[in-house]
Structures are given as structure tokens and as C-alpha cells.
């Protein structure tokens, strides 16, 4: 059985239905008979089914692979476990700090970011399962330059930044507080900067979730444009390593487009900073991680962080 098969579970599921009602007033060209003005009720329905179960889980990994290095066997620095409920339109992201000290299948305890280096996407999926209790259906790995290209390809994103921060290397002029538009480079910098944030890696993971919200909003707003989803899938295939087929990527993209932004919940697994030997690590709050996994597994929704 290949690693691909081990990671992939049968895509499942069913759908969602968001029904909204809008009305439009249609005015006839002639003004001779104003009583001809009629009210046209237009109703709208949408739904997607991408497999056999309601919720599909995707592990999104930002690899720090250097040029020429296989990004599937480098350190995974951005780790977000994303669940999409195609029945209800809800979605959730559980972020894990990269230095979290966890059990990696077949490799003992290590920082979770090394799971990709030691054991590839399958190992990273296993490490996430050990921590959160959810095995992802898909693993998608990209490297930061490719991530920048993808954000540029969709026209940039808008995020809500809770605090001003800067980084002397990645963003000297800093990011201002409030709603800000980010191109590919700035989305990368916004998602990577850690030292300037009071909560360090925990706050960085939360910023990555803000970036994901921005990407979702962009996809949702553009999805009805002919060809937008198709071009997006082509871009993902060009820039990502994934165990999803082109048809599955298309299905996932349509599922993402139908997520209701009001039903997105996010949380970062907390922990305490410590040392293993000379290495600084995060000892994750495993009980919290398991609780998040248990709460979100069936419906991709979190009530408490």
C-alpha cells in the first residue's frame, strides 16, 4: 500500500444547502401601465457532495524547503488542519505550532515540523492524528514561493490584522492594524513572521488562519466567474504536492467556495515553552488538542477554543 493510499481515505459525502432569498423588481419598458410592475421572487440554492461523509479534512502544510529541495521532505513550518462540512457550509481550522513536541509514527518524539522531513506527508498526517485525533483525508504541501504565486494568481487577499507588527527581514515597514490587502509576498510574510508577535508561534499560527480566511473570501467572491475555479485548480496542481486527483481538487475547490464565512471557526493548539536538551520546543496541550479534534470531527465546527 503506498503512502498515497495510506493518507487518502475514500472521499465522501454530502452536501450543504444554503438557501437565500432575494427579490428583484422588474419594471416594464412602457410607463403606460404602471400596474404592470411585477415582483419577481428569485430564490437560490447551492450544495456540493464530495464523497461519502459530510466532513472532509485537509492538512495544509507550508514547507520551508530550499530551492532544489523536495518540499515533501523538508520541515513543515505552517500546519493547519482544515475541516469542511459540505452539508452545513461550516469550516474549521486547527493550527499547530511548528515546534510542538509530538509522537511521529515510526520516529519517536520529535518536533512536529520534522515529521515531514523524516516521514513525508504520510508521517505528518500521522503526527497530526496522534496529536489532534483526526487523520486528514488529504495532505497538501506547498513551499512559500509557490504560496506567493498562488495568492498572486487569485488577485491577492484581504485580512483583518489585530495588531501592528513588523519584521526587520521580511517586512521592515510592518503591517498596520485593521483590514489590509496582501499580495503574494505580503501574505507569505504575514503568515511567517513570528518573533515580532507577543504570542510567538501561537500568534503566527493564528495569522496563518487569518490568511486562510482571506483566501477563502477571495475564492468565494470569484467562484461564479467562468473559469475561476478551473484556473485555480490548474495553479494548485502546478504549485502543490498533493494526494488529491485533479477531479478531487476541483470538488474540494467548489466545496471551499460554498463555505459560509460566518460559519468558519479557528483555534490554535496552546502549550508551554520548554526545552528538550538544548532545543526549544512547545509542549502542546494535548488535552486541548484532543478536545478540539473530538468537537470538530463530525461537523467541522468549534464552539470553544
Amino acid at each position: 500500500m503506498t503512502s498515497l493510499h495510506l493518507v487518502r481515505r475514500a472521499t465522501k459525502v454530502v452536501v450543504l444547502a444554503a438557501v437565500l432569498a432575494v427579490t428583484a423588481v422588474v419594471v416594464p419598458q412602457s410607463t403606460v401601465k404602471p400596474t404592470d410592475v411585477s415582483l419577481v421572487r428569485i430564490r437560490h440554492a447551492q450544495g456540493v457532495a464530495v464523497g461519502g461523509a459530510d466532513v472532509v479534512w485537509i492538512l495544509a502544510v507550508g514547507s520551508d524547503a530550499r530551492p532544489g529541495q523536495d518540499m515533501r521532505h523538508a520541515r513543515g513550518d505552517a500546519l493547519q488542519l482544515v475541516g469542511i462540512n459540505t452539508r452545513t457550509g461550516s469550516a474549521t481550522a486547527i493550527g499547530v505550532p511548528r515546534d510542538s513536541w509530538v509522537s511521529i509514527p515510526g520516529h519517536g518524539r520529535e518536533k512536529i515540523n520534522s515529521a515531514l522531513y523524516f516521514a513525508g506527508p504520510q508521517g505528518m498526517a500521522g503526527a497530526m492524528r496522534n496529536l489532534v485525533g483526526i487523520e486528514p483525508d488529504y495532505v497538501m504541501v506547498t513551499r512559500f514561493p509557490f504560496f506567493e504565486d498562488m495568492v498572486d494568481d487569485i488577485g491577492g487577499i484581504t485580512v483583518t490584522n489585530p495588531r501592528r507588527f513588523y519584521d526587520p527581514y521580511l517586512k521592515k515597514e510592518g503591517f498596520k492594524q485593521g483590514r489590509i490587502h496582501l499580495d503574494g509576498y505580503n501574505a507569505m510574510a504575514f503568515s511567517r513572521i513570528r518573533k515580532a508577535l507577543p504570542g510567538g508561534d501561537f500568534d503566527r499560527s493564528a495569522n496563518q488562519q487569518r490568511t486562510l480566511r482571506g483566501i477563502h473570501a477571495r475564492i468565494r467572491s470569484q467562484a461564479s466567474k467562468p473559469g475561476f475555479i478551473e484556473r485555480g485548480v490548474m495553479t494548485v496542481m502546478e504549485h502543490m504536492a498533493t494526494n488529491a486527483s485533479p477531479a478531487e481538487l476541483y470538488e474540494l475547490a467548489q466545496a471551499v467556495a460554498q463555505v459560509d464565512p460566518r460559519r468558519i471557526t479557528t483555534c490554535v493548539v496552546q502549550g508551554r515553552i520548554g526545552f528538550v536538551g538544548a532545543a526549544s520546543v512547545v509542549f502542546p496541550d494535548v488535552a486541548q488538542a484532543r478536545r478540539l479534534g473530538h468537537e470538530a470531527r463530525a461537523d467541522a465546527a468549534l464552539e470553544h477554543c
Partner: protein, 188 residues
């Protein structure tokens, strides 16, 4: 077969309704009976854009096959069968099992169920489908079908109904199947 021939010869595909879903049947109650007749207005199916490389013969095949899937849904959900009626038990041919389950809860929009009991006949006046095709390795993998159906109804609730939106299809078990939809319906 006519549709197939047209698909193989034209740049735009025009397919008639599915003979097996022919609406030309009398209702059981002759007092209310009417032919749910509609002229054989063909569906115009064209390709908006192919994303990736796809040989011409396969483009034509996709256009024909997806056009037929859309036609079958329209016939089952709006145009075919006898009117008046209130039930649409098999309205979603060509949908995946999951999409069909979801669509059943959206029947008010995805079929003519709400007006069906008050309508004597329906006649299609516009049927068009435009496809965006995702292709890799010279094969079509997924299709977005942008659809517009307009039909006139006679009876207590006579009027014009427009169904417009997008259907999402992938190729499964040897056939194109609808796994998702984003559809609006309006009547006046």
C-alpha cells in the same frame, strides 16, 4: 443519435429531450388532463473554455455528454411528465447519490414542485448550456456547466420561470455526474 451526430458535426451542440423522458403522456384525471407538451426546442450547448489541453474529439464528446446530463435533469424536474402534479419523485437523474440527497431538500428550487399543482402545461422557450472544462493529460476531469432554462406555464399560475446557475460535474464510473449546484429560480 441525432444529438450525437450534431455533436460530432457542429461547434455548438444542440440536443433534443430524452425520448425516455418524453412528456407526451396524458394525466390520469382527464378532467384536468392536458398535454405537458412543449415544442422540441433543442438545448444549445457550447464550450466557453477548456483549461488545459483536450483534443477536439474529446471536447465534442464532453459537450454532448454533459449537455445530455443537463437535459435529463431539466426534463425530469421541470419540462417532462404530466401537469398538473405535485410530486417529482425522480427529479435528479445524473446527480451523485450525495448531491441527490442534498437536492431533495432543495426541491422547491431544483424542480417545478411549487407551481406544479397549479400548472396545466409548460413549454421551454430557452435552453442553453456553456461549459468550462478542466483537462489534464488530454482528458477532461471536471466541468462547470453554466445553465439557463426558461419556460412558459399555462394554468392558474401562468407565467415565465427562469432557472439559471451552475452545475458542477466530474466523471465517475464511466459517466459525467453532477456533484454540486448553485442555482437560482425566479418566476413572474
Amino acid at each position: 443519435m441525432l444529438a450525437l451526430v450534431l455533436a460530432l458535426t457542429g461547434t455548438a451542440c444542440s440536443s433534443g429531450s430524452d425520448p425516455s423522458a418524453s412528456p407526451e403522456r396524458l394525466s390520469r384525471d382527464d378532467a384536468q388532463a392536458s398535454l405537458a407538451s412543449h415544442p422540441p426546442l433543442p438545448t444549445t450547448t457550447k464550450i466557453h473554455r477548456v483549461h488545459g489541453r483536450l483534443p477536439d474529439a474529446r471536447r465534442k464528446a464532453v459537450r454532448h455528454q454533459v449537455g445530455r446530463v443537463v437535459d435529463r435533469w431539466w426534463e425530469a424536474a421541470y419540462l417532462g411528465g404530466t401537469y398538473p402534479r405535485s410530486t417529482f419523485p425522480s427529479a435528479f437523474p445524473g446527480f451523485t447519490a450525495g448531491a441527490e440527497r442534498r437536492a431533495r431538500s432543495d426541491k422547491a428550487l431544483l424542480t417545478n414542485q411549487t407551481r406544479g399543482p397549479h400548472v396545466d402545461s409548460v413549454t421551454a422557450t430557452h435552453r442553453s448550456v456553456a461549459l468550462d472544462i478542466l483537462a489534464t493529460d488530454r482528458r477532461a476531469r471536471a466541468v462547470t456547466a453554466h445553465v439557463v432554462l426558461r419556460f412558459e406555464s399555462t394554468g392558474d399560475k401562468a407565467g415565465t420561470t427562469t432557472v439559471r446557475g451552475r452545475l458542477f460535474l466530474t466523471h465517475r464510473r464511466g459517466a459525467w455526474r453532477i456533484f454540486g449546484y448553485d442555482v437560482a429560480k425566479g418566476s413572474r
